[in-house]
């Protein structure tokens, strides 16, 4: 019995491998995502958005932020309020040649790691055993207590395995079943070949630029998750946590 218990309390090999492959690809996606955003740090809603149309907001993350450098606008039609064209006289920051390709390559790696993880989690019972709330675990009282404990930073030390509290389980489930699908689907909505065959993607995300904006916020939330995750790892015993996610014991 003690052997069985100690086996169950550590992270399994597949979880450990996909965790770190996923981590590396997420960090690459984040880095290249910011690189891509720096080429056009303006976000919009709907199907259309460019330097000649108003932005929802603009981020001061590169020299392209609110840059001038446009020739005089030429109207397409003689009617009032006609759409216009203008050409650029400003040399923009643009590293998308490698930025985009590395973003998609990292995306592929995350997809493969994700598929392996999902198959393992479903068929080896990882979801059922470790992530799905045990009976009564997601009760109001439990959440209230768990939130209060986190506020006071009264957090139990690491067990070195998947024995998760209610808030912890909820955040993992939100990442796996909400943020990940959302960021993948909004990413695909920016692909011209994908939307040509799956126009419903444009419909459910309100257009290509809305998808880009949602993609950005999903990435921001995943980054917030990563920061909180790291803080919790440190709070509960960094060395032990790293060891159990790497060598398993």
């Amino acid at each position: 019995m003690p052997t069985a218990l100690s086996n169950r309390s550590s992270h399994s090999t597949w979880v450990r491998i996909t965790h770190w492959v996923g981590t590396i690809s997420f960090l690459l996606l984040l880095y290249t995502g910011v690189t891509i955003l720096k080429a056009h740090p303006r976000l919009y809603w709907g199907e259309v958005g460019n330097d000649l149309t108003p932005a929802l907001f603009e981020l001061p993350i590169s020299k392209n932020y609110k840059h001038g450098g446009w020739t005089n606008e030429v109207a397409f039609y003689s009617t009032k309020g006609s759409p216009v064209s203008a050409s650029r006289t400003f040399e923009i920051y643009n590293e998308n040649g490698w930025g985009r390709s590395l973003h998609f390559l990292s995306g592929w790696i995350l997809v493969f790691a994700g598929i392996i993880y999902l198959l393992y989690a479903i068929f080896a019972g990882h979801f059922r055993r470790n992530l799905w709330p045990s009976s009564g675990q997601f009760s109001f009282t439990n959440f209230r207590k768990d939130i209060w404990d986190h506020v006071k930073m009264k957090i139990a030390n690491a067990t070195g395995g998947p024995q998760y509290g209610p808030l912890q389980k909820l955040s993992y489930l939100l990442v796996l079943f909400f943020l990940m699908p959302l960021i993948i689907l909004t990413g695909l909505t920016m692909s011209p070949a994908v939307t040509a065959t799956h126009q419903w993607l444009l419909k459910i995300f309100f257009g290509a630029q809305s998808a880009r904006t949602i993609h950005f916020f999903a990435a921001a939330l995943l980054t917030l998750f990563l920061l909180v995750h790291i803080i919790m790892i440190i709070k509960t015993g960094f060395k032990k946590q790293m060891r159990s996610m790497t060598i398993g014991k």
Binding site: I36, G49, L52, Y77, A86, G97, W98, S191, P192, A196
Partner: protein, 247 residues
């Protein structure tokens, strides 16, 4: 007849794509899609193979209504007749001075009837009018109405051969790029001579530009000079940009 043609080409393409795996084996030197042994380009190749395998190739990209037409920045080369830029072309400057009256689009390579098409010749083909969204790699989008002729019709008129696998485009501003047969025969892949109801403006690629609605904006080459049909991929070197940009 046209349909039969497309299917045999599609079969050829699928065979081609499945052969990519074998071509990646070391020691195999047959020119194939650009990877340059470079990890990034191999990722692009994976995207290309996956999209070709998983997506039905001839589905139409979303078309919009005239009320959706938006402002449209002109980027990249905006005038090959401008002597002060690297992309200056004396030939283009002459055509522009002449109102493109002597301009002709050359079509050669794996076609039984190589030839040159004037603007009037191209306008004699059935017109395709489409209001589509341009997606720039930078991150912006814009919607415009394009008038043109489906590239597939012109290629058939030129007698494209069964062995054809790629269509190369040469532009006055010095660009060379290519697309595969799936995109070349896509109904929305057009040689556009009109934009928003007028002649194509100079900054948007006059007199004729390509529109590839299933890929990112930079594949829709401006200032077309020559079209060459080939049976193998012509490697023009690593431009630093992905060759396939359906994503």
């Amino acid at each position: 007849m046209e349909k039969k043609y497309l299917i045999s080409r599609r079969t050829a393409l699928i065979t081609g794509v499945s052969a990519i795996g074998a071509l990646l084996l070391p020691g195999c030197k047959k020119p194939t899609l650009p990877t340059y042994g470079n990890l990034l380009r191999m990722g692009d190749l994976l995207t290309y193979s996956a999209q070709r395998a998983l997506l039905p190739g001839q589905s139409l990209a979303k078309e919009y209504s005239s009320g959706d037409i938006s402002s449209f920045p002109a980027t990249g080369t905006v005038n090959p007749a401008d002597e002060t830029t690297k992309s200056f072309s004396q030939e283009y400057a002459n055509h522009l001075r002449n109102g493109f009256a002597d301009w002709k689009l050359k079509i050669d390579g794996k076609v039984s009837k190589p030839g040159s098409y004037s603007l009037t010749d191209l306008q004699k083909f059935p017109l395709r009018k489409q209001i589509t969204r341009h997606t720039c790699e930078e991150g912006w989008t814009a919607i415009a109405e394009w008038n043109g002729v489906p590239l597939g019709l012109v290629l058939q008129q030129a007698g494209i051969m069964q062995s054809a696998r790629f269509v190369n485009f040469y532009s006055y501003d010095g660009w060379i790029d290519s697309i595969d047969m799936m995109d070349a025969f896509h109904p929305q892949t057009i040689l556009a001579y009109g934009m928003n109801g007028k002649d194509l403006p100079i900054q948007h690629g006059a007199p004729v530009r390509l529109r590839v609605e299933t890929q990112i904006g930079y594949k829709s080459m401006k200032y077309l000079q020559r079209i060459e049909v080939t049976d193998q991929f012509i490697d023009t070197g690593d431009s630093g940009w992905a060759w396939y940009t359906g994503i």
